[in-house]
């Protein structure tokens, strides 16, 4: 990142008459040890009639000596500096071993050389008193300097003093008030009293407005700012002169440009000289102007550039609509912690305490910002081989018709809070809920841990292990045994209500077991996943027939209202105490309530009717409200249904992944992304990640872009397989598209290999597949999947690991695999939402262009050129330029 600024400092004196000026010394040129690179410097003196000599003072500072041969009526000094504000780490040094800790003694030679910088010129009582308050215990020199700097910063109040000169330490300490000069000089004297060599610095301070407001602490100035400033430098062997700015309590960085550094403030004056007596008018100004800013992750585009991008988005929208493309786009952005760069959970591991905490914070925010009356649901996520337990998944669910599913978000327990609910609460809740659902509360049964299992486990433990204890190092299984044994085997751990939805009403049935009680399958998963299903009666008299997964291609009515009905039933339940209802059919699913860690978890049964799901949730809310109990909903998610939308928050190795709901319009797409990035940041989740050597990388989790339609049957890819062909061909022709957005992880064994980064014959086979796309005839939905399924894979045949992934297009396996979605996986997580949106817009534009005019060409056999040329910025840029020309020629300018 490069950011160049012009500092302009103008000082003008106007005299009421012509006067003579003595030779003047001007110290306004960056000192030789300025670490901020100075590209250019200029000093202009008025009146023109003067002589100027450059020299260096005994300390190496640059001085301009100006002589005026004639009387003058004005005197102007204009300084302009072009500086490159690269980031400077003030702590980038190694201290000599003998100086590593305070206190230390300079070696003899240095001691001699530093004499002028050790001279104590102020020895007042207040100064001594202040030094006595300081904690001078032995500690690393860096810590000590930070401490001193902060102490002075905290002790004094800042003021702007217009009069010239520097206050004595006594005055500064007496008033606890000073300007930067006074701070600096006090600090110099304090350091010298403590045996450290110090000097006074006069210089320019530049502070730039930050792109993003800080989440903690002050965000810096509201506007770019520069002024003459003063600070202190201390000499530390091994590090050299270190700048300390007690006015801000910070170490000097790239914004501190030293002009003159001297043992005493007297010899650091910016302008020094005498004049005849006269009336003087004085004017000065300090300005800073940014002249060059390379794009950076917090500000990838200038505002005018972004406005043009944003506007183009709407034009593409119009074209997509005119041509009836019915395109929708979603994505899977991933986020990392902004505070923790080290832990495995933010680098390699999927699960982690901190990750759960942040994911929960984010989810709760998302419920607020994306939904009105949305539902927060904790489900079991995917279970990957090699991981001890399945991953988790938080869903934020809402109705597309914007009617509330869950009215009061306060009734969702906060996972980061502690609660003290008991089994009594759980029992009361489940019985009330049963009655509210108009089923018998007699069917509620207690669930116990299986004592035989745990007695065996306990018996098998080594003699010297306390079965009731487990520590962090123990395996999950050991911890679980200890937990179960210490809570006792004869208390129920939760309650089970056998429950399913019939055609028109809720159905429950009594469950009985050979062992009389319900003993759970051993483990530590939620109760609902540990029900002993194998022990249920095999052939009951009447059993509720199985429901099938709803077909996403079928027509469905609008969703109704559920709350009112639930409230009414709750009231009836109170009045009639209907608990003796007959069971007419046997059900094999159940709703469970369990108290874990003081929180009340409600495990929802699998339901294939969205209506039933919504009714159940509404009933739960009514009961929760009346009993004033905060709940956590877990278990089975609502079925896939086009009438509801959801965002999923899941853990992935090193990141939190957010599956954002697809949006049709550019406006929705951009609103969604801006909201998500902002909510993530407010939850302390960021998008910036760095390698050890400082290289910027993506979060590591990618930002897969999905394209499809709101209803699978509308999917442009299912309606026109030609579109997929066009996209594959275009990406194959332009490797820049693969490598510009991919981040560092590419190639045949990466998460998203190109179609030509795998088997040698893949391009040949793809061309045959292209030739089989039906032309001018009806296209059956299944054909795209069948034609391309085996070519859009990595070298091992993994269908998920492919730049173009059609797993969710029209998979024969399940209804949730037939979503009409194409996933573009070679996109790494862009650090800024505007970058993400530009990438999305590029995809939208190409879809729109290819919808109008399919892109049909032979595939290019890049061979080794692919990794020889296109991994270099130059060739990628050329390639992208080529794409821009193509799009311009197609009319997108």
């Amino acid at each position: 990142m490069a950011l160049k600024v012009v500092l302009s400092h103008k000082t003008h004196y106007k005299y009421d008459k012509y006067i003579s000026l003595s030779p003047h010394v001007i110290r306004l040129r960056p000192a030789p040890h300025s670490r901020t690179p100075i590209d250019s410097y200029s000093l202009k003196i008025t009146p023109k009639n003067h002589f100027i000599n450059w020299q260096q003072d005994p300390f190496g500072n640059y001085l301009a000596r100006i002589v005026f041969p004639e009387k003058v009526k004005e005197f102007g000094i204009d300084v302009e500096i072009i500086a490159d504000l690269i980031t400077i780490n003030p702590f980038d040094f190694f201290v000599e071993q003998y100086a590593e800790n305070y206190p230390f003694k300079y070696n003899d030679e240095l001691q001699k050389e530093l004499i002028p910088y050790l001279e104590i010129t102020e020895d007042g009582k207040k100064l001594h008193k202040f030094i006595k308050t300081l904690d001078l215990k032995k500690r690393p020199i860096n810590d000590f300097l930070v401490y001193l700097n902060t102490e002075i910063y905290k002790h004094l109040n800042y003021t702007i003093r217009l009069e010239s000169g520097v206050q004595t330490c006594e005055i500064t300490l007496g008033n606890k008030l000073g300007s930067c000069r006074d701070y600096a000089w006090l600090f110099v004297q304090v350091l010298r009293h403590l045996g450290l060599a110090a000097r006074f610095v006069s210089g320019y301070l530049v502070q730039l407005k930050a792109d993003v407001a800080s989440l903690d602490g002050p965000s810096g100035p509201e506007e770019d700012f520069t002024d003459l400033h003063a600070w202190t430098e201390v000499y530390i062997p091994g590090a050299g002169w270190l700048g300390l700015d007690a006015t801000s309590g910070l170490f000097a960085g790239e914004g501190h440009i030293p002009l003159a550094c001297t043992p005493s403030f007297e010899s650091a004056h910016a302008i020094e000289g005498m004049s005849d007596k006269c009336e003087t008018e004085f004017e000065y100004s300090n300005t800073v102007t940014r002249i060059f800013e390379s794009p950076r992750v917090t500000k990838p585009y200038r505002d005018d550039q972004w406005d043009a991008i944003y506007k183009l988005g709407f034009e593409i929208d119009k074209e997509l609509e005119e041509n009836d493309v019915r395109l929708s786009m979603g994505g899977e952005p991933t986020f990392v912690s902004i505070d923790d760069m080290e832990s495995p959970e933010w680098n390699t591991d999927a699960d982690g305490e901190h990750k759960r905490e942040l994911a929960d914070k984010l989810s709760r925010r998302l419920v607020g910002s994306f939904t009105k009356g949305g539902l927060l649901h904790y489900a079991q996520g995917k279970w990957y081989p090699g991981e001890p337990i399945p991953r988790w998944q938080t869903s934020i669910v809402w109705r597309k018709d914007r009617k509330a599913i869950w009215k009061d978000p306060e009734l969702f327990a906060d996972m980061n809070e502690t609660y003290t609910y008991t089994n009594e609460d759980a029992q009361k809740f489940i019985k009330t809920l049963a009655l509210t659902l108009c089923v018998s509360d007699k069917n509620v049964i207690d669930a116990y841990e299986d004592p035989y299992h745990y007695i065996m486990k306990e018996a098998n433990l080594p003699l010297d292990i306390d079965p009731m204890k487990a520590d962090l190092k123990d395996s999950l299984e050991r911890k679980n045994i200890a937990k179960v044994l210490s809570q006792g085997l004869n208390t129920p751990i939760g309650f089970v209500l056998p429950l399913n939805f019939g055609e028109t009403k809720w159905i429950s049935s009594g469950w009985s077991f050979r062992r009389e009680h319900l003993f759970l399958v051993p483990g530590d998963s939620p109760l609902g996943l540990r029900l002993p299903m194998d022990s249920l009666v095999q052939k009951p008299t009447h059993e509720l027939p199985l429901h099938f997964e709803p077909d996403l291609f079928a027509e469905v009515p609008e969703l109704g209202k559920f709350r009112k009905d639930a409230k009414k039933r709750f009231k009836n339940a109170e009045r009639f105490k209907v608990n003796e209802m007959k069971d007419d059919m046997f059900v094999r699913t159940a709703l469970n309530i369990e108290v874990r860690d003081g929180k009340l978890y409600i495990f929802l049964p699998p339901l294939n009717h969205t209506e039933a799901f919504l009714d159940l949730v509404a009933s739960i809310e009514v009961v929760a409200k009346k009993l004033d109990i905060k709940v956590v909903l877990e278990g089975y998610e609502p079925p896939h249904d086009l009438r509801i939308d959801r965002i999923k928050v899941t853990p992935d190795p090193g990141v939190i992944e957010v599956n954002i709901q697809p949006a049709t319009s550019w406006k929705d797409l951009s609103d969604n992304l801006f909201t998500l990035y902002d909510d993530a940041r407010q939850s302390r989740l960021g998008t910036e990640k760095f390698m050890l050597d400082g290289k910027h990388t993506g979060t590591g989790g990618g930002n897969h872009v999905t394209i499809g339609a709101l209803e699978p049957s509308d999917s442009p890819l299912l309606r026109r397989p030609e579109l997929l062909r066009s996209l594959i061909t275009f990406w194959q022709h332009h490797p820049g598209l693969s490598y510009l957005f991919s981040g560092a992880f590419i190639g045949p064994t990466s998460q998203a290999p190109r179609v030509d980064e795998g088997r040698l014959e893949n391009l040949y086979e793809l061309e045959i597949a292209f030739s089989q796309i039906p032309q001018e005839e009806d296209v059956p939905f299944w054909i795209t999947d069948r034609l391309f399924r085996h070519m859009l894979t990595d070298i091992t045949g993994n269908t998920h690991r492919s730049e173009f992934c059609i797993d969710k297009l029209y998979s024969p396996d399940s209804s949730s695999g037939r979503l009409g979605i194409l996933e573009l996986r070679a996109f790494d997580m862009p650090p800024h939402p505007r970058m993400a949106l530009l990438q999305m817009l590029l995809v939208r534009t190409l879809v729109s262009a290819f919808w109008k005019k399919p892109y049909k060409h032979k595939l290019v056999r890049w061979g080794t050129q692919l990794h020889d040329k296109f991994l270099l910025e130059h060739y990628v840029k050329e390639d992208i330029r080529d794409i821009v020309e193509f799009l311009n020629a197609e009319g997108y300018a």
Binding site: T87, F94, K695, Y739, G747
Partner: protein, 210 residues
């Protein structure tokens, strides 16, 4: 900027391929080969008849970009020596020192250096806490100076023998040539251009046994 031309160094992508399976205590694992890195070097206003661009004493094959005097190349090098990686006998080749060699005056007229870790020996044990620290680390690792010293002599590949020399605990490549003992002379060499990767100088190829 050097004389009239402009040298530019940028990070490039190096694919980290999956290595062969290895068995460990917790089952089998497939590591990625993270030993390699790649940079792009671009030069403008260059006069190839007079100057040669070298990296660690090897001539960089420059490809014209279509703009007069502008050339580009990739440099692929071994940056780290993890225990499991391709070609364990080839040592690391860092820092990268780029020189512009003036063939008419027999000297390197300037250059730049790129380090993969802190040149002062600071070890980065932890990831940068924010973008400022990351940027400071990047800035630290690049010097726009430190060309190779001495008079220039071109050494044809056949005369060069590479050997591994222990420099401060790290294996470094050193060129030796029996005939010349004078260390003031800067020898540089060509490696045979690769037919498969003509735009990339692969520094590992200078280690070929002859």
């Amino acid at each position: 900027m050097l004389e009239n031309f402009h040298l530019e160094l940028r990070a490039a992508i190096e694919p980290w391929h999956v290595l062969g399976e290895e068995s460990g205590s917790q089952g089998t694992a497939r590591y990625v080969d993270s030993s390699l890195e790649r940079v792009q070097v671009k030069v403008t206003n260059f006069i190839p008849e007079r100057y040669v661009l070298t990296c660690n004493s090897v001539v960089i094959p420059l490809s014209p970009t279509g703009i007069e005097g502008e050339f580009v190349a990739g440099v692929k090098y071994k940056a780290w020596q993890p225990w499991s990686a391709l070609h364990p006998t080839i040592g690391v080749d860092t820092p990268l020192v780029f020189d512009v060699v003036d063939k008419w005056n027999q000297r390197s007229i300037g250059g730049m250096s790129y380090f993969v870790s802190h040149p002062g020996g600071r070890t980065y044990d932890t990831f940068p806490v924010n973008s400022n620290e990351a940027e400071a680390r990047r800035i630290n690792r690049f010097w726009d100076f430190n060309h190779t010293q001495g008079e220039v002599e071109y050494v044809s590949a056949a005369l060069v023998k590479q050997s591994l020399v222990d420099v401060n605990g790290a294996k470094r490549a050193v060129l030796t040539k029996e005939k010349i003992k004078d260390k003031k002379i800067f020898h540089f060499q060509n490696v045979t251009p690769s037919m498969e990767y003509p735009n990339t100088l692969d520094l590992r190829r200078k280690w070929a046994k002859q």
